[in-house]
């Protein structure tokens, strides 16, 4: 069970709700509820916004494709023993 109460999308201000819609495009998936991590990162835009930009910059296509980078991210998550 999460340590914090994860707020519903409606409890966030408008800029965060717009970001939740954009995340559907990023993941190419129509989430019925924004993912928990998206809601966590939207809690404090002073941290979440630059962290999210850094993530998108790191994950964008370059020498490696987005798909290849998702696989690297999965391997890193596994090495960190993170089930999320």
């Amino acid at each position: 069970m999460p340590t914090v109460r994860l707020r519903d999308a409606e409890e966030y201000p408008e800029p965060a709700r717009r970001a939740f819609e954009l995340s559907k495009r990023w993941f190419n998936h129509d989430f019925p509820v924004p993912p928990a991590m998206s809601r966590v990162m939207a809690w404090d835009p002073g941290f979440g916004n630059p962290h999210g930009r850094a993530m998108k910059r790191a994950m964008g296509p370059g020498e490696f494709t987005r798909g290849e980078k998702e696989m690297v991210a999965a391997a890193v998550s596994g090495a960190n023993a993170c089930a999320y």
Binding site: P2, A36, G62, E68, M71
Partner: protein
């Protein structure tokens, strides 16, 4: 990236990378490796394969030189490692990147240096290296945030299920 075969290969790379790193980082300073000169014919044959696979390097990577104290074990360890790192569904270049990311994440001095050198040897430029560093760093952040807040997985169903059966022995 679709299809379970890709993910099985990635898991093999992660597993064998960790296995090699554990030995290299743990035993490298306390156990002498088997040297090329004076190696038994059985070990020398495996060493030749290893050197060839890694671009003709004169040095045998530490974990294999340590494993060579038991030639039969070395042969099987190398066979598994070669299978995992060789081109298959995933290219060697990406496998080197996966191994580098896992080594960096697990703070393996051996693995980080070795697989960084392999990435570069296989043609990954500095931009590509920094891309893998960035992904590793960002997901080392996300994972710890998720763990600290004890978030439950909620993104597992965004990927399609692969309905194909297990491959026949010898396939691939």
């Amino acid at each position: 990236m679709g299809g379970d075969a890709l993910w099985y290969e990635a898991a093999q790379v992660v597993g064998i990378t960790n296995a090699l790193n554990v030995v290299a980082d743990g035993l490298g300073g306390v156990m002498a490796p088997v040297k090329v000169t004076g190696a038994s014919p059985e070990v020398a044959a495996v060493f030749d394969e290893i050197r060839s696979f890694y671009g003709g390097t004169p040095d045998i990577p530490g974990p294999f030189a340590l494993a060579a104290h038991d030639p039969a074990y070395l042969a099987d360890l190398w066979a598994a490692a070669r299978h995992a790192y060789d081109d298959n569904c995933l290219p060697r270049r990406l496998k080197a990147a996966l191994a580098f990311a896992v080594s960096l994440t697990t703070r393996s001095a051996f693995g980080t240096g070795f697989h960084l050198a392999e990435m570069r040897r296989l043609g990954v430029g500095e931009r590509g290296v920094m891309e893998i560093v960035g992904v590793t760093q960002m997901f080392s952040s996300y994972t710890k945030i998720a763990d600290t807040l004890q978030l439950e997985p909620d993104m597992g169903d965004i990927a399609p299920v692969d309905p194909t059966p297990a491959p026949a022995p010898g396939a691939g």
